[in-house]
Symmetry: C2
Subunit: 340 residues, 2 copies
Amino acid sequence: MRGAVLYAPGDVRVEDRPDPTIIEPTDAIIRLVATCVCGSDLWPYRGVEKRDEPAPMGHEYVGVVEEVGAQVATIRPGQFVVGSFFASDNTCEICRAGYQSSCVHRELMGLIGTQAELARVPLADGTLVATPEPPPADLVPSLLAASDVLGTGWFGAVAAEVGPGETAAVVGDSAVGLLAVLAAGRLGAERIIAMSRHEARRRLALEFGATDLVAERGDEGVARIKDMTGGLGAHSVIEAVGTQESMMQAIRATRPGGHVGYVGVAHGVTLPGEELFFSHVHLHGGPAPVRRFLPELIELICDRDIDPGKVFDLTLPLEQAAQGYEAMDERRAIKALLRP
Amino acid sequence: MRGAVLYAPGDVRVEDRPDPTIIEPTDAIIRLVATCVCGSDLWPYRGVEKRDEPAPMGHEYVGVVEEVGAQVATIRPGQFVVGSFFASDNTCEICRAGYQSSCVHRELMGLIGTQAELARVPLADGTLVATPEPPPADLVPSLLAASDVLGTGWFGAVAAEVGPGETAAVVGDSAVGLLAVLAAGRLGAERIIAMSRHEARRRLALEFGATDLVAERGDEGVARIKDMTGGLGAHSVIEAVGTQESMMQAIRATRPGGHVGYVGVAHGVTLPGEELFFSHVHLHGGPAPVRRFLPELIELICDRDIDPGKVFDLTLPLEQAAQGYEAMDERRAIKALLRP
């Protein structure tokens, strides 16, 4: 099969890779219908995260089941399925509490690499959610978004405890940040402030339900949020970047007693204990347990209640994956969908 | 009047200070019935927190109202009252959300100094809670505990979302830590693990409802908690120290999706963003909004349902405040009550 491999910073190649096979009896093999490039793929692409050897890339996927292992009970060949970037058994105590991305048996799909024609999905019964019927083609991008960016933005809004009548702010205008705007609206926020200075992303934020746009960043961004909230700060702030500046911006823009939901993968962040203590905020986040939300998100998408697939503003054949990375790295594209 | 003043690290003196007077029409003057030395008073006593000039000490208090300002509507002379270490209006949006210690008009009682015969209490209607009738003398220590250490331990347990049937662990065996044990029991925890290696404190932890004691600290302490919880960690961990080691011990002893409630005043703490991200814990804490809990705590004490006053294992006349500091600094006393 063909699949994307990162050789060095800036060097992504699509090449022949061995077809995956069933290794564990709980595995499934899926044929990818669509996959994509994630903001978090840019960390190794930019060399911020080191890779010692050529690495298969990709962890977002929708596809059709080709084959299942002997112990797979509910997932069947022919089903159209959506999964998350962590495989999870969905039965352990941590999964049952809703934290499937910390499942005691979790496996990182990024190590398997779903920017490919085929992929092995471990713990298929726990990981995959089948759509009620094969979806029409125009819903595929939205279902693919559910695999990570929608689920992650949704978790950010849930972790920030966005609630009816409240003010939510979103730091970061990546696909995750934009879909956190959408999630905040679905969770009932009255006012949704998107922090972005990028024209196309600002437009999409408005389409997804943002009521206000703030171009300022850092201390100036915080001051703007305070001005807009009677000096108090937002009830809920979703952090979708993962840098020191964005985390501090999120914490400082939140009112005492409010909630920060952080889903940007932290890189080089250290939080000052004293400031955090006196900030009185709630802090929660981490790798999104997308599996928790998949059944609900798939239903919303199949009912055409939400259209998260709009984040894909570039579609390429898998063979041109490198162009997708390049466009996202240069912020010419919000998110690149790849067709195997 | 007489009052305690810190002149330099290790140098607390009780001396003549001017009697307080009504400054704002929302003030009350109270005559202290009891006051005490707080674990947090030891930070400046030990020179960890610097003071540029002689500083009045103390922020815990119960007393009888002597006089009220013209705008005080509900608090009346003669009432026995309990207040928190932050004066608060109890009407602003932050107070109404339950974060009175971040009230937009808050004033720090520690700057006023309640280790004294008299004290001015700002925002009396918002700050003070009167007991239904003057309490019998044996309840005074417990009511005094409600003013800070009980309310703070309680907030720690609430911030850690201790719930029925769950496992809670407490890092720190100060009065706050011990009363967090008591609070965890009242909130329904099935298993309460107190982390202490100090004999008298271990005994008191058991009296307050601890089901298990762990003497190990740091990584070994974390390993013990994991062993006791099927490798997962506790559902809720209350941090009541405020050091780097205790914060990391609390975070690492908490299971993914679990809650850390931190109430030890942070000193020199920096939290590693990556570890926090992948820990999947909820983090909440800060200066306890004791005022939120006072009505409930006063009722529990007056009904003799709880006896938090047991934390006072040393009672001294106010004139001997220095001995109280010394005994707590050397961990000979858990907490020193001072009688003006």
